[in-house]
């Protein structure tokens, strides 16, 4: 089915990038014919050299895959419900969180309803029971269900304090910030931080502090040493006229450059931001402009970018498009952005039946390959096919 992806159209604008279709590969998931999509549920195990992805049929089955970056082998690690010993009333629609490596080598993630049943039946016995924290070990294949976050609430994203092992989570739809210490089985609910729409992304700095946003798109820092929340005084940059619903949804993706002490963020309002974290207090924020050069037919805050990676060359790579928001109508583009020169370059352009959406943040292997969780649209009735995207701006990649 993915044979058609060989027909990827490459923009003539690649210029000196010398990036060709040989620099990108779309890799199939195996043994899951009903696979429908992925959403941000991707991460990299540095210790074991595996990219881990949660793939869903978007109804009632989620399968955990790993891709060995050395051998190129894709492995199906079984259904989440079976591995986590879930009962039917604990059905899960998807993994919506990043999949993040802990110091114990386990890959941590959380689960989400991701289904009409969650939205419509809500807090009802026929509705959604609640999302779980879970972990899986890439070497031993050990799988542990760490328990539920909040009753009836899913856990949209998590991150981890690499030092203490504490997990951070955000609930849906009530936007509660959760801190879970697996070592003590201690779950702290620090309360609601958002308005009517849940910001989807948490991220951490090098000291284990975790960041989220409030309804004014101000950074909120969980100070891990103090076990307290610190709110930024100012909102993140936004284009003039950015609608409220984009402000309240915060950031969509991030990529970290620890060597230069910067974390790049993309907002729901299509801004690229350089955030310079500091151990204490909120760090400096620099507005790097929009995700694309301005176009007369597109509002500057319009393009949708739920993904971001940083190459070994220091440049940012992201796909624009998805969920009806495109830079070019019904086409998904991959952008290269140089934070130093602030130059945008479209590298690839795909019709939606080849690539309709890519998600995932900061997923890079030891070879400098960047990974995204992609999918392509099969018809106008939301049937889609997910696949793993592997990209390297500096060299050819293989599947």
């Amino acid at each position: 089915m993915l044979a058609s992806l060989c027909q990827v159209w490459i923009s003539p604008a690649i210029g000196q990038q010398k990036i060709s279709k040989e620099n990108i590969a779309f890799i199939k998931y195996v043994g899951f014919p009903d696979a429908h999509s992925t959403w941000d549920d991707i991460g990299y195990s540095k210790r074991f050299g595996k990219v881990v992805v949660g793939v869903t049929n978007h109804v009632d089955k989620v399968v955990l895959f790993d891709y060995d970056v050395t051998t190129g082998k894709m492995t199906n690690n079984g259904s989440l419900a079976d591995r986590a010993h879930l009962r039917p009333f604990q059905w899960q629609g998807k993994i919506h969180s990043k999949i993040i490596e802990g110091k114990d080598g386990y890959m941590y993630f959380s689960t989400d309803g991701g289904e009409s049943r969650e939205e419509y039946f809500m807090e009802h016995p026929a509705g959604y029971a609640g999302g779980f924290f879970m972990k899986w070990h890439p070497a031993t294949n050990d799988f542990v269900n760490l328990g539920m976050g909040m009753q009836y609430e899913s856990v949209k994203d998590i991150d981890i304090d690499p030092v203490s092992g504490k997990l951070f989570g955000v609930s849906y739809p009530q936007v509660h910030f959760l801190v879970y210490d697996p070592a003590k089985n201690s779950m702290k609910d620090l309360g609601r931080l958002g308005s009517s729409h849940v910001p989807r992304v948490l991220f951490t700095d090098w000291w284990g502090n975790c960041y989220y946003v409030d309804w004014r798109q101000r950074l909120v820092k969980y100070q891990t040493a103090q076990d307290t929340l610190l709110f930024a005084r100012e909102s993140l940059p936004a284009f003039e006229g950015t609608p409220g619903e984009k402000i309240v949804t915060g950031i969509t993706a991030y990529a970290k450059d620890q060597k230069n002490n910067v974390i790049y963020l993309i907002t729901y309002g299509a801004k690229i931001v350089a955030f310079y974290p500091q151990k204490d207090g909120i760090g400096r924020v620099e507005d790097l402009g929009g995700v694309a050069d301005s176009r007369p037919d597109v509002k500057p805050y319009g393009p949708y970018v739920p993904n971001l990676n940083i190459g070994d060359n220091g440049k940012l790579y992201y796909f624009i498009g998805g969920h009806g928001n495109f830079l070019i109508k019904d086409r998904t583009v991959m952008m290269e952005f140089d934070p130093r020169t602030r130059k945008h370059t479209i590298i690839y352009e795909y019709p939606v039946d080849q690539l309709s959406e890519a998600t995932g943040s900061d997923t890079k292997d030891k070879f400098g390959n960047l990974y995204f969780a992609g999918r392509r649209q099969l018809d106008s009735h939301d049937r889609s096919e997910p696949f793993l995207i592997k990209f390297n701006p500096g060299k050819k990649v293989s599947k």
């Binding site: 419509y120 009753q151 006229g241 409220g244």
Partner: protein
């Protein structure tokens, strides 16, 4: 295929924020409904900081929304004033500046004829609660008078009053003693026989693992004759007669089979015809009490969840109330005694505008703790019970919210 199509449309709306939202349910979004940002941490704006702002007491005097909050931990609560017409916070008073060591104002306000408001507090772990007299001036200034401690070592969990007798009545926390305060003589009286009995405590605490806030009456009301209605464990609707200082059990609160142990009143309101309407926290029933006949009519549950945290009467003659609580959501509902019965309005979602968010953001009310009507009944005001709580307000216009 159809399911996928529906899902696609849903996702477009919920995740992509693009295009029309397919919805089998909708939020309560009446025209002219609005929010007031009451809480925000680290700001120069007049806002309450995190964990000190759960709006647990609320009333309206002319243009002023007056609130009292509950804090978490050992933090102190606030009294605040917001303007209905300006849609902004006007005054904040840190209660720690007036009465140190308090953590909650959760009784609601009793408004006396002279416009003074009476409320009770709960102290941090080791202290005593106080009875407060609160006066809001024309300039929105808040004047607090500490009237003292009704029951040493206890807080004030619920409160009402009687203008004719110049009396305040309350329930202490955690022991549940009924007390009175004579406004003229400034004297307290505690009815020691009114507390939770050791036998009931054995059941409630040791057998059912309930906390005092889960079995004490959270709301009281006085009828036109000066009789005071409250509840006492287990599940008893009780009236106090000030004339002979007697307590009489009227009946059991309406309960769902098997859950009568959870029964307690947590909201009351009075309609123009003198009928009383109450909410039972245990399983969320609305009931009507005719004080003349002392007959109780079970009106049923507005929504599936337990709790019924607030009730008020709008200018349209309908009751508005808050059904449900964590772990579910609060459902705003209306009840029309004449013909309509219950209408489940769901979560309200109103536009909140403030400096810095002039374009407006939508604020969805998940956990609402208080509801009250303006003096003319034309505005319904709700307060949240969150880590950062806001006010949500909507007008009622000659019969119903403007849709």
């Amino acid at each position: 295929m159809k399911i996928r199509f529906i899902k696609n449309l849903l996702v477009l709306g919920l995740v992509g924020l693009a295009g029309p939202v397919f919805a089998q349910y909708s939020y309560f979004k009446p025209l002219e409904g609005f929010g007031i940002e009451a809480s925000l941490s680290n700001t120069s704006l007049k806002r309450m900081p995190m964990y000190r702002n759960a709006i647990t007491s609320l009333t309206v005097q002319k243009d002023y929304i007056i609130g009292g909050t509950t804090a978490t931990g050992n933090r102190a609560p606030f009294l605040f004033v917001a303007s209905l017409s300006k849609r902004e916070m006007l005054t904040l008073k840190d209660l720690n500046d007036e009465v140190p060591g308090q953590t909650s104002i959760r009784t609601g306000f009793f408004r006396a004829e002279d416009k003074a408001l009476y409320a009770g507090t709960i102290a941090t772990a080791t202290g005593s609660g106080h009875l407060l007299r609160v006066v809001v001036g024309a300039d929105a200034g808040i004047q607090v008078t500490d009237l003292g401690t009704p029951v040493p070592g206890e807080g004030v969990f619920a409160l009402t009053g009687d203008d004719r007798r110049k009396m305040i009545y309350g329930i202490s926390y955690p022991s549940g003693f009924f007390f009175s305060y004579n406004i003229v003589s400034k004297s307290f009286k505690v009815y020691k026989n009114s507390g939770v009995t050791p036998a009931d405590l054995a059941i409630l605490v040791h057998e059912y693992h309930q906390k005092p806030e889960e079995f004490l009456s959270g709301a009281m009301i006085t009828d036109g004759q000066g009789l005071v209605y409250t509840s006492q464990p287990i599940n008893r609707l009780v009236v106090f007669n000030p004339a002979d200082e007697s307590f009489t059990t009227i009946t059991e609160l309406p309960a769902v089979w098997g859950r009568r142990t959870l029964g307690r009143t947590e909201s009351w309101t009075k309609t123009a015809d003198g009928l009383l309407y109450g909410g039972n926290a245990g399983d969320g029933q609305l009931f009507q009490l005719n004080p003349s006949t002392r007959k109780v009519k079970n009106l049923g549950k507005p929504a599936m969840m337990n709790r019924l945290r607030g009730l008020c009467v709008g200018a349209d003659g309908k009751l508005y109330g808050l059904s449900g609580a964590l772990p579910g959501y609060v459902h705003l509902f209306s009840y029309n005694p004449s013909d309509e019965g219950f209408t489940d309005l769901g979560n309200p979602q109103f536009i909140l505008k403030a400096p810095g968010i002039e374009q407006g953001i939508e604020w969805r009310g998940f956990q609402l703790s208080t509801i009250t009507a303006s003096e003319d009944g034309k505005y319904i005001v709700m307060g949240e019970d969150e880590a950062l709580s806001q006010l949500l307000i909507f007008p009622v216009d000659n019969g119903s919210p403007k849709e």
